[in-house]
């Protein structure tokens, strides 16, 4: 008995400790709740990497470089805490689609966000196929893959670029050109390519447009290349600057956007918090009125559940969306399920003539398979939803699944410990009354 009481005390203290952590971290801003864009306000852009236009063997490398380049550019524009991530999506038929998801908190002008990303140039070096006449430069090429081989060197190999002035023929014209520096991998590929293909043409592409298609006269070691394409000084300078921010290895297409204004997001947060507080209050009141003393214990278990889940939200951290808040509020209603199952069974055993202590033990024992099954069926749903999910649904599924697991723990172990720690042996009418529930009938 003493041991049980000590355990109960430890649970209570731990709950209070975690509660204090929640409170103080909220005040100090350490480990804040992470809010999704639909709550904080901002823009999400989803791009598709167009590998049909620029085939490569190293898809994951290209995607990593794509992510780094976009991330650098987004950071440059002072967006706070942007998230840039890659994702493999796809309809079941056909090749999977490589996607780039860009989340820009605080940016609520969709077009501005698109422009910010869209200025990143796509750079490709491609060898012209054998026995093909070089196409005209300066205009977009429809059937690029018919003329050119797959890109050999791309934006992911670029380290820096600068504007230079070429000595024109006879030193007359000073044509502005852009000089590129490759990283060691890019430099090696470029050196090998030029050494093995002297006499062939290669095309330099910016955003899919052939800027120049020079003939390879000799091997070019040293990891540098020159783009010359009738630039004005201003045009060359702008290009060099944009290339310095990074160039993409593969063209990207916008396939989805989502923008939520800060006002709407803030409103949703306020309403979500209000709904959470009222939801907890209403469920607690119901449990107290219907189940009396055990009800009080289940409210304590519910409080511990709420504290534990909120702390997990902060620590994991879970990105909360409106759907996630809905899942949390739903989980409050479900968290007391296990308690209801146990209490109803305990009440039946009491009516069957058992002592309170035996009835409690039997109630827990008999209710367990039911609790396990209901949580299994909920977990199945949560797992499938998580897989099905767009980020919105994933948020729901994660919170829902987390809620199911944690609530099983709190509802069973915590309320059991509390109930037994009370150590009620008496058979007085008052105690029995406290253990009866609203629908009790002496049958």
């Amino acid at each position: 008995m003493l041991a049980r009481r000590i355990i109960a005390l430890v649970i209570l203290l731990a709950g209070a400790g975690v509660g204090w952590f929640l409170y103080s971290s909220q005040i100090s801003g350490w480990k804040p709740f992470r809010l999704g864009l639909d709550l904080s306000g901002g823009t999400q852009l989803v791009y598709r990497a167009n590998f049909e236009a620029a085939p490569t063997d190293d898809v994951s490398g290209a995607m990593a470089s794509l992510r780094d380049t976009i991330e650098r550019r987004v950071n440059l524009f002072g967006v706070s805490e942007p998230i840039v991530q890659t994702e493999r999506g796809g309809t079941l038929a056909g090749a999977p689609e490589e996607r780039l998801i860009v989340e820009l908190p605080g940016i609520t002008d969709t077009q501005q966000a698109i422009t910010l990303i869209g200025q990143t140039p796509v750079l490709e070096f491609r060898l012209l196929k054998k026995d093909v006449e070089p196409p005209p430069t300066g205009t977009p090429l429809q059937n690029m893959n018919e003329f050119f081989e797959a890109p050999a060197v791309t934006g992911k190999h670029l380290t820096s670029s600068k504007i230079e002035f070429n000595q024109g023929v006879g030193g007359i014209a000073n044509e502005p050109v852009v000089a590129l520096n490759f990283n060691s991998e890019g430099g090696k590929i470029f050196a090998d390519l030029t050494r093995d293909n002297v006499g062939r043409y290669f095309g330099i592409f910016l955003d899919g447009i052939p800027i120049s298609v020079p003939v390879i006269r000799e091997a070019i070691p040293g990891g540098t290349a020159i783009i010359s394409g009738n630039f004005t000084a201003e045009g060359a300078r702008e290009l060099a600057r944009n290339l310095n921010y990074g160039a993409l290895p593969v063209p990207i297409e916008l396939i989805a956007t989502q923008t939520v204004s800060g006002t709407l997001g803030g409103e949703a947060v306020g309403k979500g918090i209000a709904a959470g507080v009222w939801g907890i209050g209403a469920v607690a009141l119901f449990m107290l009125l219907w189940y009396r003393l055990p009800g009080l214990l289940s409210v304590a278990a519910l409080a511990l559940y709420v504290i534990a889940v909120l702390a997990l939200f902060k620590l994991i951290p879970v990105t909360l969306s409106a759907a996630g808040i809905a899942a949390f509020i739903l989980s409050i209603g479900m968290a007391v399920d296990a308690n209801i199952l146990i209490f109803e069974r305990t009440r039946e055993e009491l009516h069957g003539g058992k002592s309170i202590k035996d009835a409690i033990a039997e109630g827990f024992h008999r209710a367990w398979p039911s609790i396990r099954d209901s949580n299994i069926s909920s977990m199945i749903t949560a797992v499938i939803l998580f897989w099905f999910g767009t980020s919105l649904i994933k948020g729901f599924a994660l919170v829902f699944g987390l809620g199911v697991l944690v609530s099983m723990l709190t509802a069973i172990t915590v309320s059991r410990t509390f109930l037994l720690a009370l150590g009620i042996e008496a058979k007085s009418g008052v105690v029995r009354f406290l253990f009866e529930s609203g629908a009790s009938r002496k049958n």
Binding site: T91, A256, G333, L341, E344, S374
Partner: protein
């Protein structure tokens, strides 16, 4: 047990509700949202009072928007649904939507490309199938022990029938909601239906488990009891539990519906209807069907 005795009344009531849902579905149909079709969904606020829909429509048509719809929302808002926008349309959206002195603010803008829409549609169907298969396996597992006088596959079949009921009702309801309030089928709706499936199957299984437990106890004690009696008694024993577990969930859903965020309002409503349907079917449909089956069988 009142419910078992008067089961014909409840069969009639259930039939009427299902029929109403099917009719609603046939007449109103389901409107797929942009999650599944691709397109643009914008919520536009007019802080200085909203202009008439005609004025905005003129401006939209001039900007070459086709096949769009405008619906009033809140006090100062419109919800615009349209096909995917061009770069120009997106760049000038605020100017296009601002009419005269009423300047528009965009509080929410979603664009989904056609490929993503198609992918989500496929995924939703697969998720639905996956949940159904898992639940079938779950039912098969839960009723693996053969029992008398009703064989175990009948329990499973009836559990499935109640599941169908639990899906038809919210779907029919949502069709009506779509017609009268412009609600569209989105990923959240699918989520709600799947959540209802997982939640309500369990309710039915608990009642059936109790029926079998009582049958077993009767067998052990050599007690003779009419099957309808046993089933009714089991229902009575689990009734409060069924109602109360649903009630606490319904309480939180009501709170979510009335004071929760706007974006999850229809979601909460769908869950509300689905869970009420699920609780109803596990009490008023499952066990009465079981009794009916046994009566039919013993007559032969």
């Amino acid at each position: 047990m009142v419910i078992v005795k008067n089961r014909n009344i409840f069969f009639a009531l259930t039939g009427a509700l299902v029929l109403a849902s099917v009719i609603s579905l046939m007449f109103f149909g389901l409107r797929l949202g942009i999650d599944f079709t691709g397109g643009t969904l914008a919520q536009v606020t007019y802080p200085s009072g909203r202009p008439s829909a005609e004025e905005i429509s003129q401006s939209l048509t001039k900007a070459r928007f086709t096949g769009y719809s405008l619906r009033e929302a809140g006090t100062n808002d419109y919800v615009l649904r349209a096909q995917n926008m061009t770069e120009d349309q997106r760049a000038n959206l605020i100017e296009i939507l601002s009419v005269d002195s009423n300047s528009a603010e965009i509080s929410q803008l979603n664009e989904i490309g056609p490929t993503i829409g198609k992918e989500l549609r496929n995924k939703a169907l697969i998720a639905l199938a996956a949940v159904l298969i898992c639940i079938l396996l779950f039912i098969a597992f839960a009723f693996r022990k053969v029992s008398r006088p009703v064989s175990s596959w009948v329990y499973g079949l009836i559990a499935l029938i109640t599941l169908v009921h639990d899906v038809i009702i919210p779907v029919g309801f949502y069709a009506a909601l779509g017609h009268f309030a412009g609600a569209q089928i989105d990923t959240l709706f699918i989520t709600a239906v799947l959540t209802v499936l997982g939640f309500s199957i369990h309710d039915t299984i608990v009642v059936f488990d109790r029926v079998r437990e009582n049958l077993r106890v009767n067998g052990e004690r050599n007690r003779r009891e009419d099957f309808a009696e046993t089933a009714g008694r089991s229902l009575g024993q689990t009734f409060v539990r069924s109602v109360n577990t649903s009630l606490t969930v319904l309480i939180t859903l009501l709170v979510l519906f009335f004071i929760g965020p706007e974006s999850t309002r229809y979601f909460a409503l769908t869950l509300l209807v689905g869970i009420i349907a699920g609780t109803y079917s596990s009490i008023f449909l499952a066990t009465p069907l079981l009794v009916q089956w046994e009566k039919r069988r013993s007559k032969k």
